[in-house]
Subunit: 352 residues, 2 copies
Amino acid sequence: MINRRKTKTVNVGSIKLGYKNPVVIQSMTKVPTVDTPWCIRQVNQLIQAGCQLVRIAVPRRADTLALAEIIRKVKVPIIADVHFSPDRAIEAIEAGAAKIRLNPGNIKKREDIRRIIDAAKMHRIAIRIGVNEASIADYQKRQVPTQRRIALMLKEMKKYVRIFEDRNFDRLVLSAKSSDALRTIEINRMIAATFDYPIHLGLTHAGLPEDARIPSAVSLGTLLAEGIGDTIRVSAAGNPVDETIIARQILTALGLREKSGPELVVCPTCGRTEIDVIKLARRVQKAIRRVDKPLRIAVMGCIVNGPGEAADADLALCGGKNKAYIYRKGRRVSIVPESEAVTALLNQLQKF
Amino acid sequence: MINRRKTKTVNVGSIKLGYKNPVVIQSMTKVPTVDTPWCIRQVNQLIQAGCQLVRIAVPRRADTLALAEIIRKVKVPIIADVHFSPDRAIEAIEAGAAKIRLNPGNIKKREDIRRIIDAAKMHRIAIRIGVNEASIADYQKRQVPTQRRIALMLKEMKKYVRIFEDRNFDRLVLSAKSSDALRTIEINRMIAATFDYPIHLGLTHAGLPEDARIPSAVSLGTLLAEGIGDTIRVSAAGNPVDETIIARQILTALGLREKSGPELVVCPTCGRTEIDVIKLARRVQKAIRRVDKPLRIAVMGCIVNGPGEAADADLALCGGKNKAYIYRKGRRVSIVPESEAVTALLNQLQKF
């Protein structure tokens, strides 16, 4: 139901970014790149969690050396995150990165950028121009109004893109990140209206996971619902697997990613509820942990919406007074005491 | 930066809903309504958490009797959640509810609805027409396509609204809920385009809190960013205080609600990081728990975006190799060993 924005298609190793290609989840390793076994382990954990592209920081020469080894040993295209140093960019390209990220805020000399473009062309890899609000010199003063910040980010992007286009390089991915959800929405709408390259979405420096997930879902969700965004990275301080799980939930909510396992619909409960919905739902949640079919299972408290959600679910448990109605494919199959409700539901589950 | 949709203004007790009025957070009690002390305690916990309207279920006569007592003893307008029974609606209105919610899926007789409208008029209270996807008879069969579900919800809404308008009743609030985020976005866009009454937003039956928050943030966030939505209720199975906290986070992310306490900006960390950002951030988080000023505090790992975020923050800690730079209002005030970083930051906090 979402009309994805028309963009060029950009290959990042085996992954295609843009337009009708599925929105790709990416994350970043958070361990020292030079500790290659640890770094490879984290890349594999990310792949396991559903991450399709992994970015790795390469601040020093030792990191790009390690990068070559990591790339050889993992099964996912690797992106090198480059700041300040054009040499790191060239080294990362030669190490086999499928894409590099450049920050216009800290690699500014035209001859440096051109040198990087030529290397990327030769190796046929992609480059993300990653504008970051906090990296732009002009707003390193407080109280710069929102509209001016957005205008400056867009100006920085336009200037940088032109350097690439002047050299006929079009394997570009664009991003503009802010730690403010509204500014992130606004700048990405402008970038979407100005360019036809795929867009990488992210809310940056969003905080600890409990603070980061809602603003990330709001900003990335709003843009994705408008068809903007071809790859996303959720930023949260902590384990990158958490970032990947949040990213998956955002895409799944919008129908941009298939559900990979069962979905548990649970009514919020209210003063009408006469069975312990939460306890039952927690028990069902635990029991279906290893189920990998995309079943829809509903645990509902009363007759207001219970039968309706049951009709839409593969399996449902709908509460009455100390008893539960069990539904399979919308048809009521049994009435059992509350204490037997979960067992009865799981018996039906066996039949799938 | 969000242009709120133009609507009529509807009073719900002391609260004004619609257009330029702030988006209002509401939730629902989840304890037996007849247990009035417990119910009142939960209403007060919700108020404490930032909830501005509280809805209470009144399935039986005993509940509307209890409702009158609850309304006398709490400081927030109370909404009665009515299903199936027109008598409960009239009783709730007479008990002093500031608004009642009717479900077109289960109160259908015109003479019943007219009787309720007349009572609401006499008591000058508001009515929410709460269409619920799972309550509409026509889709109590599986595999009904999305567009047909949306069309049916809209048709149900139009039919019901006409009954109210024919009786010159315009203190209406409209809602159409689904457990699917995309359908929730779509149906609300249509309702916003069709009517000029305030809209109540919610994603229903969203699941346990860990499953509910991302789809809720995505669907409500997208609509709010488009200017749609005048009151929101996040549904999550469990304590309604959690619903209120998620609702607050959604509104705050979009600048629709002022930040009530400090905001902790934390970089996600990566292979560049040379100090333990997460540990430092957790310690700062704990130390500022009782601070109620809307300060912006940044804990950043390196020089890429550290100085930029520091420039935007009231206070910042930016990591180097085993040391930290402390910033106050964007100016660097000290360099300290990592072990003294949090203390140094908190010393600066004293000055605010």
